[in-house]
Amino acid sequence: MARQRFVVTVVATLLVGIGLPAAAGTAAAGTPVTGGTLRVALTASAPSLDPHSGTHLAIREIGMHIFENLLAFDSKFQVVPQLTERWETSADGKVYTFHLRKGVKFHNGREMTAEDVKASVDRFRAIAPRRNELDDMEKIEVTGPATVRVTLKRVNAAFLAAIANPICQLAILPKEAVEGKPINKADIVGTGPYKFVEWIPDRWVRIVRFPDYKPEGKVDVGGLGGARHAYADEIRFIPVPEPGARVAGLQTGEYDFADFLPTPAMPQLTGDRNLRVARLGPQNYPTVYFNHTGRFKNLKLRQAVQAALNMDEIMQVANDGDGRVDPGFYFKEQVWYTTAGGKLYNQKNPAKAKQLLKEAGYNGERVVFVTNTSYDYMYKAAQVIQEQLKKAGMNVTLGVYDWPGSLAVRKDMTKWDMFTSSHSTRFDPSANDFYFREKTTFFGYKNPKMEALLDKASAAVKFEERYKVYEEVQKLAYEDVALLKLYDHYTWQGYSAKLQGYTPWVMVRLWNVWREK
């Protein structure tokens, strides 16, 4: 049975393609072994373990092992049940009834009830940074010990995806762990396969197997859903910010797993028979935003930048060429992928850019391009862009800060013209809506046509219908030069050859993974 389960996992992941391992070494068949400690080197220190508190990668990578949502995404980015057994939607599409799985226990030993779900959802709607995704929700009611009913103000096709989204996850915690708790103050008690034990900042987060865990179903459907089993006795998430230290620690066997490994270290690691490496292709894509309230209000000026950029060169410098030049706002491996508007991407045409600058009436005025050194690929990309725009005749000054510094500058619309960031893998296209809506965007973009399209997408329940609308959204974003996608950014993970059952995916999954003795 276990063998079959893991074969299913591998096939599912290979079909999707994301997280396709570059070298040998993915989920191996074999009987799972229980026991041992997995030492996992993560690049970042979690700013908090409260799952409702932020969108930071480390919060969710650790959190997915401790907490669960009502729904989750499988490896194909389809919504599947997690703490819910099943759900029903009313004929008008506005009322959802969730039937909870029975006998699910929290790590404090108490059984989960509908009251806990309501308390968690209420807290999320009050304080979570992603709460705007539930703006269309009118109310949540407890209709039975294991049933909750959610009423929406209007039909929202992205509602289930918002419930399942692991980025700032809508985790279900015991009522007493969340009620009246401000941000970052929830008790770390979940229903997941691993239970939180200890957090010593900069040293580790320790989680141990939860013996009373009740998995959903019998098959691992990949992604974050399906049957999840804790085979290791303990997992230690160790923050190791220095890439060289992550590589050395893997080689010496101090870590069983490490993420974000530098591309230049790959020949050295692939030659090591004690290790396996896997390429997460792609993991995210770097972006450039224009300040639409300032100089870049002028469409011709934005078009000039769009025409000038050479994404191949940018990718070469920013990530040692490890990536893919592609116009899709969703990755080629995802069902939402489209090349709509792609003709305007990667034009590499400085002559056209010069012409557009002339038409825009640009006269060598200073353009402030804010970037950061906390993510070196963003900084390197900004340096290349500066050079490319200089060739086209633009006077670009880089404003270099650390990440919090750049965010603070971004808040003041008089201080910047262009800004670098990146989009992590989006689980649903609606996750990008807030960039394009006037009410929520941070870069001053507004276009009534775009708003109308997004409203249409929100009401479109059928996949084909939704897909078509999001195709139009992407096309319009290119035509409007709302923002610029640079390239698909690949990253590398490495792990011990003794680690079995590991399937690379967009997030680190250490359930259903065991260490050979």
């Binding site: 700013p47 940074p129 700032c168 900069d202 190791v240 060289g244 050395a248 010496t252 929520t440």
Partner: protein, 314 residues
Amino acid sequence: MTIYVLRRVSGVVPVLILVALGSFLLVHLVPGDPAMVMLGSDATPQQIQSLRTQMGLDRSLPEQFLIWMRQALRGDLGESFFLGRPVTQALMERLPATMQLAMLSLFFSLLIGVPAGILASVRQNSRWDQLVMITAMGGISIPSFWLGLFLILVFSVNLGWLPSGGYVPIWEEFGPGLRVLILPAISLGFMQAALIARMTRSSMLEVLRQDYVRTAKAKGLGWWSVTLRHALKNAMIPVITTIGTAFGVLLGGAVIVEIVFTYPGLGRLVVLAVQRRDYPLVQGALLLTSVIYVAVNLAVDLLYSVFDPRIKYE
């Protein structure tokens, strides 16, 4: 002596207030917002504002400073925005790790630096002297993170003798605790050893030329007695100053080495606190570092009188 110590300690109070004010202004003037760091780049301005209120950042700067000062005088340095624990607790958790690393580094630097300096001075212009001086020049020039990565490559990855990083409290498990400390302590201590060797050499050279040393030699005293008892003791004053400074640097400035060796010390805590704009933690850590510097300086001053009885504190 007691009166001197009390006078010195009371003189520290205005220094600490200035440090508190300076660090407060410094961290608040750097652009950045802890609420934005916590919530992520996609949070709306309203969400950021409500978290700022929760963190007490909606008050004016002078008001925030006065509140912080009032608490600090009562020994309460506030609560870290991110770690979910009081600043004093966070600092006290890290201090032992930093202390044990600093002590072992200092031990290495003294073990190497003082004998090397003595050797170079008594064999001035010899090959030994040249060897010590060239190595010391290397020690001062080689960045400690580079040395750290080099040591990891040789002793962890290739030879497999020592771990490449991590932390085990030495009082919990002595063997493993010591093993993880060796490489970072050498990386940190090498530069200090070089400084101490150079200072010992120049100070010894000065003393060795003094008349009383010549007299001692003329009296027929043995080499060890002349060099160690008569010369070294008198040459120690500037060396102790260097050692004091070195200890201060080791306690507060081990940031890069802590990152390379994944060592959870004070330096890494401060860097992370700055990166996240965790204001109470940055202020608390700077205050603690200043207290340590002041205490080390006082200890050094008091040690002078041990080595030179002519120095008296009244």
